[in-house]
Amino acid sequence: MAEIIRQSTSRGKRRRALPGVRVDMTPLVDLGFLLLTFFVLTSELAKENAITASFPASEKTQPVNGMTVFVGKNPEKIFWYSGKCDPSVHLNVTGTKNNGLLNVLKNANAVVFRQVEVIDRQHNLGLLNDESWKTKRAALLSDDAVPFVVVKWSEDASYQDVVNVLDDLNRVHNGKYAVVAETAEDNALINKQ
């Protein structure tokens, strides 16, 4: 391909085939792969990850099967309690270190979490087809056993801390949550600790 066939113009008896003119393609290849590398690397970098979160419209009162997590200034001092709120409720404390909060949320959602992990594994192994996996998963995620988590943020909570909680909820397959502002009563409750 890369040679030009030259027709011999001499008409004499001593006719011989001229060798084709070869073009050195190496620099072209170099350039091609250089550009290729560039585009592969840059297109890889432009991807952005996101977590999908829903923020319900009405800030409903807490259902019975639920827990409340307070996100404040210090990510290592996250207060939480489960069940109904009353002034004498005991607040537990946890942090983001060593997956503290993650384990708390995991324990609260232990039954469903384990079941979801099982069907996820079955799906990965090809034992479960896409459709039944999806319906089973959706049914599990809306199961009544999933605790409703109210995430309450204070004025000095940073975005990262709230995202951490949402991320942990995603990890334990809990999609039932609401993010609301802390009330004065909540504040009093925390200050009592």
Binding site: T26, L36, V40, N49, A50, Y159, Q160, V162, D167
Partner: protein
């Protein structure tokens, strides 16, 4: 037995198929790659383990450490129509046709609409300076100065109409998603203000842009997450 002839030429490789392949791939990546849109501010997004890739058709709200709000929506036609609607809402601010067209191919911005004509005309260094001093798009609802709601509303309406026309033409389209790209160190209070503006317009689902962190099962990843 015939004699084995020594090769008369130096062995040379035909590189042509390799060149073909390389340039084919280059063309492919060039055409498929979408360049990262230039950001008006540097935002250090919080980390999460989510590996969900951000959907393509997004309305992007950027919030930096100081809580300043920037707005972006994709699509030239959408942006032009959105600005035209804003112009009827704010008739005091004058835009030339040229400025409107230029706005169509711009990206994220974070200036009040009163400063927008000057921002459109500014060159890159001036824009960077304006981005550094701006207070962001006003979102304060108390003084009735909230402009972000109008941008969101008109942006969504324009995008919906544009998508509808595409749909009628038989083009497959993606629904508009709302993405929030806030700095991890930004106060959640400011993010909540923006979210409550969306809630007023019945938008409840958001994509919170995060940076992927390491394997969640190792304790080190939990420590790094702060």
């Amino acid at each position: 037995m015939p004699k084995i002839k020594p090769p008369s030429h130096s062995p040379s490789l035909d590189m042509t198929p390799m060149v073909d392949l390389a340039f084919l791939l280059v063309t492919f990546f060039m055409l498929t790659a979408t360049m990262r849109s230039p950001e008006p501010v540097i935002v250090d997004t919080p980390s999460s383990i989510s590996d969900i890739i951000l959907p393509k058709n997004t309305l992007l709200i950027t919030i930096d450490t100081a809580g300043r709000v920037f707005f972006n929506i994709e699509g030239k036609q959408v942006r032009v129509e959105m600005l035209r609607r804003m112009m009827t809402k704010f008739p005091d601010v004058k835009f030339t046709d040229e400025q409107v067209a230029k706005f169509g191919s711009m990206q994220s911005f974070g200036v009040p609409i009163q400063d927008l004509p000057a921002y459109i005309d500014a060159d890159e260094p001036t824009k960077a300076k304006m981005n550094a001093v701006t207070k962001g798009i006003p979102i304060d609802t108390t003084d009735n100065k909230d402009q972000l709601s109008y941008w969101i509303n008109f942006g969504r309406v324009s995008e919906y109409r544009f998508r509808d026309s595409l749909k009628n033409a038989g083009v497959k389209t993606e629904e508009l998603r709302v993405a929030i790209k806030a700095d991890g160190k930004a106060g959640y209070k400011q993010v909540d203000k923006v979210i409550s503006l969306f809630k007023k317009q019945d938008v409840y689902r958001f994509n919170l842009i995060t940076a992927l962190e390491g394997d969640p099962n190792t304790p080190a990843a939990g420590d790094a997450k702060k």
